[in-house]
Symmetry: D3
């Protein structure tokens, strides 16, 4: 059986830093093509990674590949994904799934219609801690309260298109917080949400000359959220407290997911477990977890195996859709205030 | 001018441990009477603290005192407060203000009508850290996001009437979380809330034989919340993430209030301040704060001064009313799920 | 039913500091008599603890009590225990059981013959950590290697008869190390020993003017061990490495029992558990253990309950006998070098 | 005078990682030949390190070199060493000296007979801490108790021939624990042992699917020890408690040698000293030790200097013989249980 | 022989808190009289400590006692000391010796003339750390550089006469820094000073409303130093850097004496030693020091023994004189700026 | 406008490690020439850094460059600087400015006369912490006490000409301590000094075989200071305590500058601020400071900008002159003892 041929659409930082090296680490696939609206960048990437075919128009690539990885600005996720699936090509699409829940639904529908694989790159699920936490959930029991904090102190990304709402659909929530939100809901067992409430802010980034650790940006054109809070209720009664930020006046960055359940509680970073046993309260930590801690690699392997019919997807499109639905609801709740 | 005469109604732990010693520490007042439905307990307390008059019926006490401190179960706060005010007696009532917002409104109305002082014992505001944090809020600027965590790991109070809903109106939120919630809103400048969402739990306490650090209780009759989450939006756009618990599977107890504003952020326990200045991110801590750290004493002093017309109340009844309104809304939101 | 009447034989530090307060904390027994070769000391103790009867000769006490607690120098343990049992009196005897294994066997035989309770005061077993560790042994599985370290840095007890071999039978091992050795073997499930090897030292204490943290003693008459090492094999294949000392050139005091088994490992001080699960290595600690941490009290309660036929002894005389047998073997092995 | 010509026999990890780079760092010797039963491996190593001669049969090498370094499986140490010495070639043989004490004696005898240098690569002695500890022993005085712990938590080496008894003669003790045992006895002044007792285990490694941090191995064919305890008495009265393991349920890896003597005590990792002086107990640590911390280099230098008659061997074959005798006795003691 | 009769002159805090309890702890002396300009205070102290005689005029006391302890404001030290000595009474005088070096010289002369004991209460020398450091100086060798830091962050003593220049002669230096300065020079071996340079400040205490941790004081009448720096050269070439303060903008209080000598260095709080040995740099700490850490008691004992002719004074008046000379020089240097 | 042409005089470690890489990092200048008395070293450096012109005699270089960086031994600083300035070439001269204050004055005069830029390479001022501390001085207010400690434990530089007095003018003070002294005075606002007192030592380095962490040196020819203390008074009343050393018996290396002023205090390493506000004592730290922490780069940029008339010098020659005057006074004070 010949190697799976993979095409990359959009060759910016995430493609060159995570996806291309990951797929080039396997023997049963080959990255045979790249495509980018910026032809020079496509050319450079192809040379750097020794990739044979270059396309300016991604449509032209589909007949030459079995699968594509979509790394464009969020705005183009839906359009390209649907086109690829309809061309009979499997898709690994960067997160978030798309700009809106409506677009996500169309992508999911296309995947079902064409019977092609559609994976969304929520790679936090593939971290060693996350995989181990998923197993530990057996001992947490029914989840009651979940906390998600994805906070950076004054680290607005000053490069790329991160602060452009029309291309990205939002800021800190859609770019960063979505990862931890997705991870938390997956650990909870992917219950359905029933109610969402949220608020968004960008007062810090709108100030002229605000101190920023990750480069500089134009505070006048900045039009996305840099700080978001939300509260989500699920049909099983669980509730989730969410806070995410690129720029907050806080002590330090924080990346936190914890879940308190009926039988125990856990925190993912670091991986800890809290429970009661034999008239004791017991705390446990992972001293060592087997395997490589390279989530990009594990994500690529899972996608390949799904394309090859050898494994189920870890990140199913239905789950990524729900994350986008929740993000939509947060933004709507914030605007209605 | 003669000393202010003070009566104590309900001589349980909070009266004997906090209020009586506090008022007996001043020279311009005297505790002249106690009242309790349990006559023996009243007798014992009177002897222990050398108090002259004892009443079984609190009504009989009013003509002998200038002010009363109400330390009964929550259910009786409203009834006694209104009776006292109408008898021309100032009132310091334990928190929460009453079982429901409706009762609180009646209390507030009585206070205005009679022109007597009505204070609610949210003593967390009188801690040194709280008082200093209130001053630091000048440098926090407009508050954006507030976090309140009042969490205990498996510490359901196994004594008193804490787990009795009809007497107390609720559990961990109305007994414990309300303190930190009140403190947080006061620090924020007492903005009006516009929306409240919440969830309540008691799965851990309903389990037979659950491990508990603070004595034992009957899991079958337990009918209050032991864990609550909520999300509150304010008219100035700020949002507040609340979690409180008597019994959660977590790493450790936590008592946390923090506020991130436009100009800076602060945390109260310990007292820290986070801001940007001169191209730096700066963290500051209080190394020493002047004054005694005896919130019960400071609270009593403020109440006395208010009765004597020498100071404004720190905890105004309008503010305590809003805390009760929010608690009401949380319980209602939780039930409607 | 009337209260159990208890007599105390030997009213030194251990009697006044641990046993008398413990038994006086219960309602179903009364300390009705004391006996001591030093009549003045007996008199003082009786007054201090409000005990009615005083005997110079312990034999005279037996007809007035139901049980005795023996707190004399080790040399008299066997003689008094056997006399008491034969007089129909239950016995709680301080550790070690006696000077030699031979004496211990006679004590055990007397207990069986008279059908009276004989308990030995290895109170380390009643510490909260020890009791919880005993439950954790379920998850340790078959024990392989046990380590016991009971070490003090230059703390030879400079009072009492601790350094007198003819009264005590030995030094650091028989006085201190025996506690941790007993605890370890009990946790292991009380397997039978098959081989013992040991060495004893007292070079530090024999030096003139050696620095000592616990008072001064006569280095010339000092004739017991101040440092002991031993190696014990059990019939289940487990081995135990033992080191105990009153006076060693080490970094710091150490009180350590740990057991590595087939399924997991544990340490008692602090209480920790080490295992593998789900491709992880996991460490766990006790964050809180229920109950009072007063081993003297728990030990007294267990003895009373055994006398009343309501509970099994936690420290059975057969187990204490084996500890004395091992101590005997260590001393013999050391001498044969 | 021409450079000393050195041959390497067995070019696995230890040769390529330690010995070859070490000898190539000196100007008065040259590695002129390699030999390996695996011809390809010999070829690769020769190219990588620019070594001129390659031999399949080590016998053929002897006439071309002045000295050899033997890095084969333990089984071949004796045979090759004796052949080399008899060919007039100096020998630096990897540890352990050989599979059995009998073989070691033959090697020692050959060395004496031929008057050629025989060094054993117990390189832990050449660590900076070890060298400094050796000097500190002056202040420790007569050693009383020595502790050796060489423990790894679930780190069975899953490569090479480590788990093959016929080639290696044993597991964790003969491969790893021997280093620390040798170091400890050398620090003690190389006293003669008089009694040895020990136990060996491999229950963890015989379990299917046991978690292992250092690769995977076949639990069915695993036939060496993964955990060993021992107790050794010396003719000067000192005793040594030994524990070594590749796979134990413990908190963490531990590499510990400490000695308590009459005048002071020391620990090697980290280097600390404990003593009494001027009515004080004093702890001391090495804040800085001069020299390079490259034990392989120092070991090679010492061997070269011994070959050149310029220095005494640090690791004398008589000392390595005693280590092997003790290992033999431990294994025999374990089997006789 | 009868007990030594001791009189106390000035019964403020230092007398009641340190000297009276210390002398009452011995069996060979009795405090038989007190004297104070404040008769009520004398009366109270006499009752509290069960002292028989009370004198308003200290002169009247001399014929009734063998020795006096002088605890008056500094201004009266010289006058009372000389009167006592001339009356044949031994003197233990609080530090500093007197207001000026001139007065000190007169005191010393009186002591020599009368052949009576004159001790100055520099009790820091009697701390366990100080006594042990004095022994360690053997290994420090010739001192080169000494650092003295006696710093308090905003702790001006708001009670007593501390801020009154005419009574005390100065502020932070003469009250607090003098202790550490005396200790340092004694450790150095009491070399003679050859040059002194200094600066004094009180800008912080002269500010209205400055934050102060130790009570309040009148910033307008405050006329002593609250911060002093100095540099002292000794005839052996050593130099000493001194900083002392009651009120400085610093991180934290600091009490530091360290000495770097030719052979080693030491720090007193905590007690540490730094040296080079065997090609190592070694740090040592005192883990335990024998004796009681009650400098007031040890100081009293030494004074008694000196009065009884059984011991030499630890703090000789010649040494205290030099401390006062240096203080004088610092104040003069500061004024000449 | 063409690039500024820069010549390097003296191509030792400081030139190759700091200055050449710094200037080669900018686009508006070019290093076009090197000069060194060691022709081979000049040749090597030119090749390594791709510099076109090489001169044996620095005089010959002047007509080919716009500016020079002087990295010779201190002895030649004055001569070369003056020659360069008179040749119309800007000068960045390594610290210290020159061997004596007299030389420094001549350099300053030449700079004024020629109107060419003269900068001295006190690069500690360009560290991020230093730049931020300079801004923080606004809140320190008038400085009172400054402490400078630049201490190394047994780290005499064993290479170069550091221990040669005739070439360098001194040891630890002129080589190392001068940096921190310059930094401190600049932070204080460059007040004029009015009095200097000091002591110098080299007893440790004069000992044979003293342990040294930074290579070996000849203790017999060693003729500079290895340890210096000093005390400096300024015309604004501030005082500065200085200690610097290459070789002292101390706990650890220390690099410390702190200033206590009327309104606040600060420490530079780490950057902290201490003050009082709102009845609190507050400590603040820099959590993050913007910019690159490459003082060599910032220093080069500032020099270039000064040459181009675009910025003021950060290190003005008048300020460097005062540092040299103080160093002179310290050495003179030390000799006069």
């Amino acid at each position: 059986m010949s190697d799976l041929k993979i095409g990359i659409i959009g060759v910016g930082g995430i493609a060159q830093g995570r996806h291309i090296p990951a797929f080039q680490g396997f023997e049963d696939c080959v990255i045979s093509a790249v495509s980018d609206v910026n032809k020079d960048r496509a050319q450079e990437a192809a040379e750097k990674f020794n990739i044979k075919m270059i396309f300016e128009n991604y449509q032209d690539m589909f007949q030459h590949v079995d699968a594509v990885v979509i790394c464009t600005p969020n705005k183009f996720h839906a359009e390209i994904t649907i086109a690829a699936l309809e061309a009979g090509v499997h898709v690994l699409c960067e997160k978030p799934m798309a700009l809106t829940a409506e677009e996500c639904e169309a992508m999911l529908e296309a995947s079902k219609r064409t019977n092609k694989v559609l994976a969304i790159a929520y790679h936090y699920r593939f971290m060693k801690n996350s995989q181990a936490a998923k197993k530990m959930m057996r001992d947490v029991g029914t989840p009651l309260v979940t906390r998600v904090r994805a906070l950076r102190r004054r680290k607005v990304p000053g490069w790329g298109v991160f602060t452009n709402k029309s291309l990205q659909g939002g800021g800190s929530l859609i770019d960063y917080g979505c990862h931890l939100l997705d991870l938390a809901i997956w650990l909870m067992g992917s219950p359905k949400y029933v109610e969402v409430n949220g608020s968004t802010y960008n007062a810090l980034s709108k100030q002229p000359n605000s101190v920023n650790q990750w480069g500089s940006f134009d505070h006048e054109t900045f039009n996305v959220d840099d700080h978001v809070t939300a509260y989500i209720k699920f049909e099983n009664g669980a509730s989730l407290l969410l806070e995410t930020s690129w720029a907050a006046n806080i002590l330090d960055d924080e990346e936190h997911v914890s879940i308190s359940g009926v039988d125990g509680g856990l925190s993912v970073f670091p991986l800890e477990f809290y429970a009661a046993k034999d008239d004791m309260l017991i705390n446990s930590q992972a001293a060592w977890i087997s395997g490589e801690d390279d989530p990009g690699l594990s994500q690529a392997r899972n996608f390949l195996d799904a394309c090859l019919g050898k494994a189920e997807l870890v990140v199913k499109p239905e789950e990524a859709l729900q994350v986008s639905q929740i993000i939509d609801e947060i933004y709507q709740s914030a605007e209605s205030k």
